[in-house]
Symmetry: C5
Subunit: 340 residues, 5 copies
């Protein structure tokens, strides 16, 4: 469900290209922020109306003093600073998470190159290894992504989808362990490689080592995904940032009230009813915080989260294509036009 807009901003001409992005809805700040903004406006104008209509003079005066107090002291907390550092951290983790997604492409390359044999057993081995590799990834995802968990709530759903066979499910069911079992299919894949070596389908020991290395690397990436899910950014950091932003705007609800210009308070010489800059500030800081909210777990169902279903489908299709259909085939060798 990723929102790609790179093509739209490839070339900056005339008035630039970023303003075009302001009119998007999917994954946009407007879509994310409108509930908060409505709530904020509602409370703001509620207070505003009370001030304008219901208060007597002494209450008004007291109210004004509180507004001034709020306006002065709400700057004590430097939210721009903490947001800058916090969002940088989140974005780094977000991209590292993405980079930890294991792709079966190299595995498919090696399986196709090193496991020989055009007979049925050869095909079976190659296909099964790739199935196991993808299975390991999917099991990993069911543990960390609510979206994938919905698609495959139990092992039976995996059997139905054809990535797990009934006899394999039994093996998993028999194994009693409280720990995640994503590595299991990878052990099997490794065992099949060893068997293929024994049967001579893997021709040499380097090739076997290459295959086992690649499986180990793949497992490492699945493990990384787990770790990013397991070891969150320390709760206390997220709380500090969230509290800072929320209390700032709680204070701003009072502090940005427009006061009667006739009272002659500093910076209150005109009453334009809509404190446009305070609203923009809300938009700005809340939007910045939303960047963090959206990216802190990119395996969810936000507009900007990774398209895991697409990745799963593509991986499976790609794997079978490379190790089975296209196995060690290439077009006829013909001289190119620059031959001489």
């Amino acid at each position: 469900m990723t929102v790609s807009y790179t093509a739209e901003v490839a070339t900056s001409r005339g008035l630039g290209c970023f303003w075009k992005l302001l009119f998007r809805w999917r994954g946009s700040i407007y879509k994310l922020l409108w509930p908060e903004l409505c709530l904020y406006l509602f409370v703001y104008y509620l207070i505003n109306i009370i001030y304008r209509t219901s208060l007597n003079d002494s209450s008004k005066s007291y109210f004004e003093k509180i507004v001034l107090y709020c306006a002065t002291f709400s700057n004590l907390i430097p939210i721009s600073f903490v947001l800058g550092f916090y969002v940088s951290l989140i974005i780094k983790r977000w991209w590292d998470s993405f980079s930890s997604i294991p792709w079966p492409d190299n595995m498919a390359f090696y399986v196709s190159a090193f496991i020989h044999g055009q007979d049925e057993r050869g095909r079976l081995m190659r296909r099964t290894i790739m199935r196991y590799v993808n299975l390991a990834f999917i099991i990993t995802l069911t543990c960390i992504s609510p979206a994938v968990k919905k698609r495959f709530p139990t092992l039976d759903h995996l059997v139905e989808a054809g990535v797990l066979l009934a006899n394999e499910k039994e093996v998993i069911d028999h194994l009693k362990t409280p720990h995640p079992i994503y590595w299991m299919p990878l052990i099997w894949a490794s065992s099949i490689c060893i068997r293929a070596r024994k049967e001579g389908r893997v021709r040499d020991d380097f090739a076997l080592k290459t295959l086992v290395d690649e499986i180990a690397k793949y497992r490492g990436k699945c493990g990384d995904l787990f770790n990013y899910d397991w070891i969150s950014i320390p709760l206390v950091y997220t709380q500090v940032v969230t509290l800072a932003v929320y209390t700032y705007f709680l204070a701003a609800l009072m502090g940005s009230q427009m006061l009667d210009p006739e009272k002659g308070y500093d910076n209150h010489h005109v009453d334009i009813y809509v404190p446009i800059f305070n609203f923009l500030q809300f938009f700005f800081y809340m939007g910045w915080l939303k960047v963090a909210e959206v990216l802190i777990n990119p395996f969810g169902e936000d507009d900007d989260d990774f398209e895991l279903h697409w990745i799963i489908d593509r991986d499976i299709q790609f794997s079978y294509l490379v190790v089975d259909e296209m196995h060690q085939e290439h077009p006829e060798l013909i001289k190119d036009q620059y031959w001489d």
Copy 2:
């Protein structure tokens, strides 16, 4: 179309070297910013003329209050902060994108070193592998770069250019897949290597592994390029930054108006008609944002984007040169002058 200026700033002497860069046009801030600046100046002076000529006293007074309000509150949004973090992020991605461009140099080294045979079939194999490698890169680029897409809108254009042969195009056309097929030539290249091993042209298994490893690494880099294109920086971040800068200058259109010095407003003691610092500020912040606009997709046609056409041509020429013309040749071994 990259703008290289490193040679000009190699040595800092006298008054330094950066001021020389201010007189460049290609890729410069002036070239990028003049349309916005004109628009900004036009609107600024339109408002200015209205204030000076068309308003009566009470309107003027109200106008002045709004100007003061804008000048005071437009500082609520710390754009320097968010721009600093955002541009850092963009520049990191820009350089990472560049580092993901796969170069065929090492592949050519290995192909030349490990695929033996001076006969025609040997030459054919070496050339074809290198052609496939370059082909994979070009197909990748057609997906992510509008500039390269223009040059090779269809596979037929690749055939014309001689990097794809007609029989190979047929194979690709037969394959029905919704996913990008940039990896296909790499599979073929890998298959040719395996065939060369079978024919004894690749002498040993290490060499085969080295070749397949290098192809896998090359594919990994093509995949990275795809990912940088696919997973943009979250839209909401770009929107937050853009909105912040744009609204800041919308406010500044009012807030930087020069008021009648006789009214005695703070910081309005002199009317010099040209609020030079506000215009410089516009130049500065907008220019900083332009850095992001130019670099967010370096595969476009901005002055500062990567010179993909040059890279493609150089890669192909280099590949053939190394694996064919210069294949395993070296000058006669002669004693150097420090021999004893």
Copy 3:
């Protein structure tokens, strides 16, 4: 004891998801900060009551001047800046420490793949190698983590737990060295691999090299853990940051006192008894510092520290499972449903 909350913030809907995190207790800022906050409030109101009740006019006046002095000059130290950089540094180290935790998974893969033999001696070798690998990790942890040290205060406790055998303990006891001996079991593991090669259970030299490489890599990670413990962030940096925050709030105890509004001091036009923003500021900066306190040594017993006991138990169970029970086994090869 890690606090995982990623699942709760997977998808941002409605009013977002971060506010939900504010109601957590374990690992929260409230749990960490309440003792300090109580102390701060106590002292604040003590001073406050003295000012309101016990001082005569001239003392009051002098007191007020000191309050104003504190309020003005406590901003001389930019704690937000130094905290931003310092916490970034701590978080980087925290994650690097986590990434240095060695997992026996790849070792188990390689041991299972490359050390053949279903007989008892084969099993014994595989199990012993994995036991040594885990032992090395546990010994490392006893040196750097008070939590693990409590569980295994002496080697005898390791013998009891079954990860060290009595005869091995004797060897360690005989070795007189003042340096940590975590690498010892890894030397043994390496020697067993060499013996296995001599006995033909490791079939080829690559495999032996792979095993020894992996052991060396594992040792490297244990060494990294040691180094992170040994080379702390320079004391002077931590002291500078701590002093800055503490003295800031010592000053704030005075500087945030609410003065009699009738005296007409700037920014003291209203007395609301609870200087809410100063308290929030305390919460904010102290909370930010707490992030550093919690993460500076993630091997302790804070709520947010790594769950070392869980890791140890999981590692041992996993190791035996892979190299013994599941050794080179895989489900029967059956055609998958997309076979044709």
Copy 4:
């Protein structure tokens, strides 16, 4: 020409060690800044003298208002921010450039270890490979460094220096290509390795692979150097930063003028003739920008640029020493004093 001062600051005692660095001239801020500072002072005092002596009262008054205007509004541009981020970026690139300098040390190790044969042809091969490796580096440098270009303006100068032989120069001359040809000697080196393998001087295929791998790695580093030269930091970023700093000080020329204290302007209560803090600020910001100017191309002739001539000479001497004089020799094996 690097300025090393690490030894001087090894230990911080008494009043610290940094103050000692302030009295250096080579590579210092004083040496870099004095022309700008003189110019700045000259213009400052020119304006100052005009104000003090030549203006009548009304001009003076207008002048003073412009000074106040400049002093107020020159803060609109946050140069400290943009300089901080920009200089960080430059320094990162500077160190990455340095890390991309290829050292022939490992190559020499491998050549000495794996290319056997004490006869003349063996020596010739080893020496020639190392000469080619160094040649590739030097050719790379002539393209990116004006300093090295001066030393070797043409290939003939390389022939004279003995790193290129006449027959090799002919081969290069015959090759018509518009692209840089730094990789050519590396191709030759690789071909010689292959020939040595054929002649049995390289005993096994691993060794050959190791040699070719190392050559490929060396080429990669040369390519990196090229890329750092070719892909500059986007011009627009450098322009934005330069413009910001320059216009700031153009404004400061006016804004920091000392006004007649009798006029009673804010912050103008005393006239000390030398606005020391503004001059220090000039020193500070300009010095910070100079860091960028010096480091943006570290292959020039600044005091602080890399000592390329030293590196070239050391590399050549080292290479011949290792592969020829010390080839596979070591002192007699004698028991050390802790033998038992």
Copy 5:
């Protein structure tokens, strides 16, 4: 001499754990700063006493204006900013330097695993290789660390210490080269490996490659240490930061003087004799700069520098232990308690 305090801050309870660090002396900010602080206080109070006692009214008035001028304008230089970026850079380099320290552990692993032979010559080879490896490290350190240079001022001291033998010293003495010779023992180590291969003590070519690779990696790390020493952070950057901090406090000596409250200057309503916040600010910024002073060369003799003597002794002891005493030995294989 590293100051480790990680154990003390493992768990944050009650009032946290950082305050405990404030009472340390070794490596503390107090120990580093007291000379500067004393000097600062002395000059401050000297000026203070002159102001209070020796000046007549007009001088006093002039003095006060200069104080106000200093107080206002000393903020022109944003030292917090530049310190933040500079210290980040220093800390990154400090940790990278530490990570470049080569450990002989892996080398010892490989030597023990791959160089067979229990006879005297086998032992001699293994010990000599490890001695050479450690020797290379020590020679490197004598070039970059004054502390190690003191311990081993000449090669003779190395001979005395037993890491260099007399006949080896002669070889080094005969070699006339102006360049550092740290790599020499590594060449010898590599030659011994090759000889061991010829004698059949190294069984296969992989093993030889592994050994030579590891020696090359070790040399790379020694080279990195050299480079960190050779290529300092550009002098101009260090000067800019130092000048900024020093001139700031020169100005603060005047600017923080407390003026007669009766004169009614802004922010000078009370005279408490001790400008506590200015002193804390001095502590803070100077302390921050001290972090840089201590870490810029971590091979010196500061309290917080690396314990090189300990590392050298441990490396030598460890090396001999692994390759000689424990060579290829492991405890008897016994079934563990979870066998079934």
